[in-house]
Amino acid sequence: MTPDAPDPDMTAAELALGLLDGEERAAALRRVLADPAFAREVEEWRQRLAGLFDDYPEVAAPESVAARLAQLDARPAAPSRPGFRWPIAGAVTAIAVMLALFLVLRPIPQAVAPPAAHRMMAASLVMSDKSGAMPAIVDMTTGEMRVGEAAVAPAGKSAQLWMIGGDGVPKPMGVLASTGPSRMSLAAGQRAALKAGITLAVSIEPLGGSPTGLPTGPVVASGKLSIA
């Protein structure tokens, strides 16, 4: 190995380790969305390095955390300490508000049906630059999806929503409204693929959405879907 030889491309390892920041990190995250082989490589690096977790010394956790957890109830809890600057705290509240509105605004069902399991799912799509987050809510019964307002696309571009499941391949869900909250109706196939833990992501695309069926522009927000 000579000092002048170019460095090997270790981007997958660098992303898994958290070495990247700024545009390099954004580019690597885009590659995870667009390139399943690369996404697998990142996951392989996570597993390859997992043995290093053994070397963190254990430190007895404070009783206060256990006490706060014991009070956990079925509703999503927001961090309780005042003044703690948690970037997604606002998004958790936004999801709760949106969920409430969504439930109020839903048409009253004609017959009282037993509630289906996991009828609502939600995600907090945290901006890549940590400037905020937008809530996304899916009614699993009707396939109706709403995404909170977030004017993320510059003029002449569209913001497009993607879902990334276990296969790591982004699948288009729809183009977001340029202003105001977005509403979209998911096809039965799309709805069936939604489950807790899958990733939703928003990328910036040419007006009207990606021409290729895969993200082509930067990912500006992402989050994991969970049961609401």
């Binding site: 070495l19 920041d21 899958i198 994991k224």
Partner: protein, 189 residues
């Protein structure tokens, strides 16, 4: 409650608690907490560098575990690695959202990157972990030190270069070559 000393039994017990947590069993979350909180708090404390922040992050980590446990696939990753990855990522997010980290890690989480683990810790390593450690030991000292610091402290290239007083490009080369060698060693073994 200490985890069982037999690693296979400990893993089975944690997997079972995590799967029950995924089924929204709150008592199971408490079990996961008892089995893992010392390890996950060690991770949060090391990366956040301050106790009150580490406590808040730890709380958030278990809320995340509560919400995401349903997505845990027992066959794909060891339960403690899955949980530790959540803790490490949350702690890194906290540090980077705040924009700065304390100048010195606090004493309780003293420089693990530079100290050798004790015999009990070595005995508890599974085969994959032993192989990784052997391969790290085979790297030259600068690569090993940089990779271990990047992992334990969750720092970026820029922070790593600053700490080691090295130009950014040199730091990247050292880490990349070390990672390539590490991959070859781990995958060949």
């Amino acid at each position: 409650m200490r985890p069982p000393t037999d690693p296979a039994a400990a893993r089975a017990r944690l997997t079972e608690a995590l799967v029950r947590t995924g089924a929204e069993d709150r008592a199971a979350l408490q079990d996961v907490y008892r089995l893992t909180s010392a390890k996950l708090f060690g991770i949060c404390l090391r990366i956040c560098g301050e106790r009150s922040a580490a406590e808040d992050v730890l709380h958030d980590v278990y809320l995340t575990i509560w919400k995401r446990a349903g997505a845990y696939e027992p066959g794909r990753a060891s339960p403690i690695s899955w949980l530790a990855t959540i803790a490490r990522n949350k702690a890194i997010d906290w540090v980077r959202a705040r924009g700065a980290r304390p100048a010195h890690p606090i004493e309780e989480a003293a420089m693990v990157a530079d100290t050798s683990p004790d015999q009990r810790e070595i005995a508890e390593r599974d085969e994959e972990s032993r192989r990784l450690h052997d391969c790290l030991d085979a790297l030259d000292e600068r690569s090993r030190d940089a990779i271990r610091t990047a992992f334990f402290d969750g720092v970026t290239y820029a922070e790593l270069a600053e700490r080691k007083n090295m130009p950014l490009g040199t730091m990247k080369s050292i880490v990349r070559r070390g990672l390539l060698q590490l991959k070859g060693c781990v995958d060949d073994a």
